[in-house]
């Protein structure tokens, strides 16, 4: 085994024990440097103070009743020194922190703008011309400015690898920007095929945790919601993929631009179910989550909070997608965001077709 291999092995082994996640944006370097500098400064102060503390505790231990060796009540020079010297370090931290912050705040001219919508509990990134997707796809070494809004409560977009975070407050737009510096690798086709097959066989939605790459075969950085937003806050995660070339990014976007010819609506509906945040709240196996399960939903009479009973037909499903707060099923909260303006007619049609496949009545009407 070559020496470099041995090192990379050590590197692999040590990685989960590192201080920081991978460094992947232009901010991370400054940030890690500042963090380390503050930490070392703290250690330089902390160690002598603690040595003195414990040394004095042992050294000046005396039997009961012994008098203290000294009873000085103050020492102006000493007190001034220990007030002023640390202050210089504090000013240093403040100034460097504020300057780096201003850099993080002001997006450079001409940065690509991407619209982000946060909702309970998921993300929708708008790639223009009707392409929406929960994953954030970026271009290597290109500054990008996110323009973010929330449909319900406060969320916060956090990408640890970029050392960047910003709250998303409903009722206003918040902005953030960054420049990714590390591209996401693509896994081999065999690996991707195996994972896709496995997911299909199990009938589950894609597990990023298990596979550690996206359904399109890209490795990714984690993106978290950092502001507590209710029940599934900890599941409000998505991923960031950094493409090396614009062609690659565009190819990826194109793939999601609409229902590709030759793909039947039900299959496309399944994709939408995974991509547009439905999976976060509606299960396929009958288990109750934040919203009712899709298993057997189509054609079933549902009881509303108002007490009336409505059959889940095409129109009911369409209304629930566009105006979710109008007819709420008994036992659930009106928390679903509206998809009005976000899903095309064909999209909704595809979802309905997909739901039909999940229900025996639906299959029967086919």
């Amino acid at each position: 085994m070559k020496l470099t291999n041995a090192f990379s092995l050590v590197g692999d082994y040590a990685e989960p024990y590192a201080w920081f996640p991978e460094s992947a944006s232009t901010f991370s370097e400054t940030n890690d440097w500042l963090y380390n500098w503050i930490t070392y400064t703290c250690v330089v102060f902390f160690v002598p103070i603690m040595c003195a503390l414990f040394y004095f505790a042992v050294k000046y231990r005396k039997p009961k009743g012994a008098k203290a060796e000294s009873n000085v009540s103050h020492n102006t020079v000493l007190e001034l020194t220990w007030s002023i010297v640390p202050s210089f370090f504090l000013v240093g931290m403040f100034v460097m922190g504020a300057r780096a912050y201003l850099d993080m705040r002001d997006a450079p001219e001409g940065a690509n703008e991407v619209n982000v919508q946060a909702f309970k509990w998921g993300w929708t990134i708008d790639y223009g011309s009707g392409v929406f997707h929960p994953e954030l796809h970026l271009l290597l070494d290109e500054p990008v400015k996110l323009s973010m809004r929330s449909t319900d409560v406060i969320h916060s977009l956090y990408i640890p690898a970029f050392r960047a975070k910003k709250d998303i407050v409903p009722g206003r737009y918040n902005f953030m920007w960054f420049k990714p510096t590390v591209a996401s690798e693509k896994v081999s086709d065999e690996e991707l095929a195996a994972a896709t097959k496995q997911t299909k066989e199990r009938g589950e939605s894609w597990s990023y945790d298990d596979h550690q790459f996206t359904p399109d075969g890209y490795r990714f950085f984690d993106l978290y919601c950092a502001e507590y937003c209710g029940t599934n806050h900890s599941e409000m995660q998505t991923v960031v993929v950094v493409h090396e070339t614009l062609e690659d990014l565009n190819a990826w976007i194109k793939k999601y631009s609409a229902r590709p010819t030759g793909v039947d609506p039900a299959t496309y509906g399944a994709t939408l179910y995974n991509n547009r945040g439905c999976a976060g709240c509606h299960s396929l196996d009958g288990s109750k989550r934040v919203g009712p399960s899709f298993q057997g939903l189509y054609g079933r009479p549902e009881e509303m909070v108002t007490g009336e009973s409505i059959k889940a037909d095409e129109n009911y499903i369409r209304e629930s997608i566009l105006y979710p707060k109008e007819k709420v099923v008994a036992g659930y909260q009106p928390v679903m965001p509206s998809y009005k303006g976000q899903l095309s007619d064909d999209d909704i049609y595809s979802i309905v077709e997909y739901l039909k496949t999940l229900s025996t009545t639906g299959a029967a009407t086919k």
């Binding site: 590192a18 201080w19 400054t30 503050i38 503390l53 009743g65 009873n71 020492n75 409560v153 407050v169």
Partner: protein, 582 residues
């Protein structure tokens, strides 16, 4: 082992032991004599029992939280409601710890007992108000527990809007609880301010007050000034929820960030309500157990006031990522750094006090040393959060969780425990097992660090807080933390057992078991109903020169030079030389 001896030619002042009829615990009997008591000492003891129960309850919730986080997918709660249970758990843990435990712990439990005694007064200025504030505390606690047993509460202890105005859990019950607790806190503060201003006996000048009183005084100022803001904010929150008046909720043209400003305008100063009394306790503990004058008395006294006032200016540092204007953000960051100077200097002062002292490593001293260690870590890691750029990465991650636990648990809780061990013999007239006490301090210290040190790393690696489940790569750090929490729990249990067994089996405590010079050591243990048999002689609270160890009786006593006493019979009216002349 004893070095001291009573110098020849001096008289010993020691009040001895109280009789049953004069001691405040036994001079009247029956449940009613406690329920309707106006004695500040009994009210202090009732608070002590109350806050301890609240702490035990919230501590058990903390253990459940930690156990759940032992595995990435959650170990305790399973199924559809798992996340909801977890959210209710951390909300209730946080809210109970903050509102029912940490804020009242030192001021209400120890403060009520000690302020009048240390001051040399008979009681607080408004004894009825004092009792009332205890019952308000109980009422507030009922609301919190009520929230738990109705629909739970899942907003986090900060009640951020618009989540809190839209969730269907018991927000109103809980905010009413916090509102009532606010009154309890205001009444206590008001009482102390008036007591300290008006009831000092002759000779008790401001600069002869023990530092614990300075700390309580500055805390009271914050309580009285800041708590009403919280009250108003919570009322607005309730109005918003029920009537949609549109202050905080964007759906009705409100702004959620306004709520954050209001909330932190109280809650940041509240952090100093939590930590300033701890500074006071530690100053007294370090000085008494080092038997040495506190270093820089005036500075510590003034810096308490300075921290209390500066504490009102830094609330914005909780909102660096919320999207305030860059200028506001930078100003808040700068102000934040100014508060760290007086806090840092206190640490230097305490260590300078130990230098060339005569240190006894008693249980309270062990807690005081642990406090300095843990609080310093808590304070230093605050610098990472005050620095704007690094806070962008660390805000709302476990780094913050670790930071505030180092300050509030490592700081306030440890100071509270140190204070309880320090004044326990005074309060109950019993000595506890020194070995047991020190053992508990050691276990708590190790357990605490094992719990919260890994959380700094979790945070800098990017683990967000308030997560019921997490990515597997964080698992081993979470597991370390959980094991630490169990150990911490054991340590706390040991402390409780040591204290409780002392009540049954402990030796009788002398008036001054540690050699303190403040007034509370001049009355019997436990104190008599009116605190002092005779009006106390007020001296320098940190002058240990006449405190001597009386080895034969195992106690510290105060001595004073023997004065030539005037003969008891009046001498002859006729001068001697005149007699001779006859």
């Amino acid at each position: 082992m004893s070095a001291g001896s009573i110098p020849k030619g001096s008289v010993v002042r020691d009040p001895g032991y109280p009789t049953a009829s004069e001691n405040y615990l036994t001079n009247s009997k029956g449940v009613l004599s406690w329920i309707f008591t106006l004695d500040h000492k009994r009210i202090g003891v009732m608070y002590l029992v109350g806050v301890t129960c609240a702490f035990a309850f919230a501590g058990l919730l903390a253990l459940l939280i930690r156990l759940h986080l032992f595995q990435p997918d959650g170990m305790i709660f399973k199924g559809a409601e798992a996340n909801n249970y977890y959210n209710q758990l951390f909300t209730l843990h946080g809210a109970v710890m903050v509102f029912l435990f940490i804020i009242p712990s030192i001021p209400a439990a120890l403060g009520n007992f000690l302020v009048p005694v240390m001051l040399g007064a008979k009681d607080v200025a408004f004894p009825r108000l004092n009792l009332c504030s205890f019952y308000l505390w109980c009422a507030g606690a009922m609301f919190f527990i009520g929230a738990l047993f109705s629909t739970g509460l899942d907003t986090g202890w900060t009640f951020y809007t618009p989540y809190s105005t839209t969730t269907d859990t018991s927000v109103i019950a809980a905010t009413m609880g916090a509102f009532i607790l606010g009154f309890s806190s205001i009444f206590t503060g008001l009482n102390f301010i008036v007591t300290i201003n008006t009831m000092r006996p002759p000779g008790m000048t401001w600069f002869r007050m023990p530092l614990f009183l300075w700390a309580t005084y500055s805390t009271s100022i914050i309580q009285v000034l800041a708590t009403p803001v919280l009250g108003i904010t919570l009322l607005l929150l309730i109005a918003e929820r029920t009537m949609h008046i549109g202050i905080f909720d964007p759906e009705f043209n409100g702004d959620p960030v306004t709520y954050q400003h209001f909330f932190w305008f109280y809650s940041h100063p509240a952090v100093y309500i939590m930590i300033l009394p701890a500074f006071g306790v530690i100053s007294d503990l370090i000085s008494v157990h080092s038997h040495k004058r506190i270093f820089g008395y005036r500075f510590i006294a003034y810096s308490s006031i300075a921290i209390a006032l500066l504490g009102f200016l830094v609330w914005g540092h909780h909102m660096f990522t919320a999207g305030m204007s860059p200028m506001t953000t930078i100003i808040f960051s700068a102000l934040t750094f100014t508060v760290s100077v007086p806090s840092a200097i206190k640490v230097f002062n305490w260590i300078a006090t130990m230098y060339k002292g005569s240190i006894s490593l008693t249980t309270p001293m062990c807690f005081a040393i642990a406090f300095i260690f843990l609080f310093t870590i808590g304070g230093l890691t605050g610098l990472h959060l005050g620095t704007l750029a690094t806070d962008m990465h660390l805000h709302d991650t476990y780094f913050v969780v670790a930071h505030f636990h180092y300050v509030m648990v490592g700081g306030t809780l440890i100071a509270f425990l140190g204070g309880v061990f320090h004044w326990w013999p005074k309060m109950f007239g019993k000595l506890y097992s020194e070995f047991g006490g020190r053992l508990s301090a050691a276990i708590i210290f190790v357990g605490f660090n094992l719990t919260f040190l890994p959380q700094f790393v979790l945070g800098s690696r990017g683990m967000p807080r308030r997560y019921a489940t997490y990515d597997p790569e964080f698992a081993y750090l979470h597991q370390m933390s959980t094991i630490g929490a169990l150990l911490l729990g054991v340590g706390l249990l040991v402390a409780l057992v040591v204290l409780l067994t002392s009540l049954v089996k402990g030796k009788k405590a002398p008036a001054n078991p540690w050699g303190g010079a403040t007034l509370e050591w001049h009355c019997t243990s436990p104190p008599p109903f009116y605190n002092f048999e005779h009006a106390p002689v007020v001296g320098d609270p940190y002058d240990f020169s006449n405190v001597e160890w009386d080895g034969a009786n195992e106690r510290y006593v105060s001595t004073e030079p023997e004065r030539k006493i005037a003969p008891s019979e009046i001498p002859d009216a006729v001068p001697a030389h005149a007699k001779d002349g006859h």
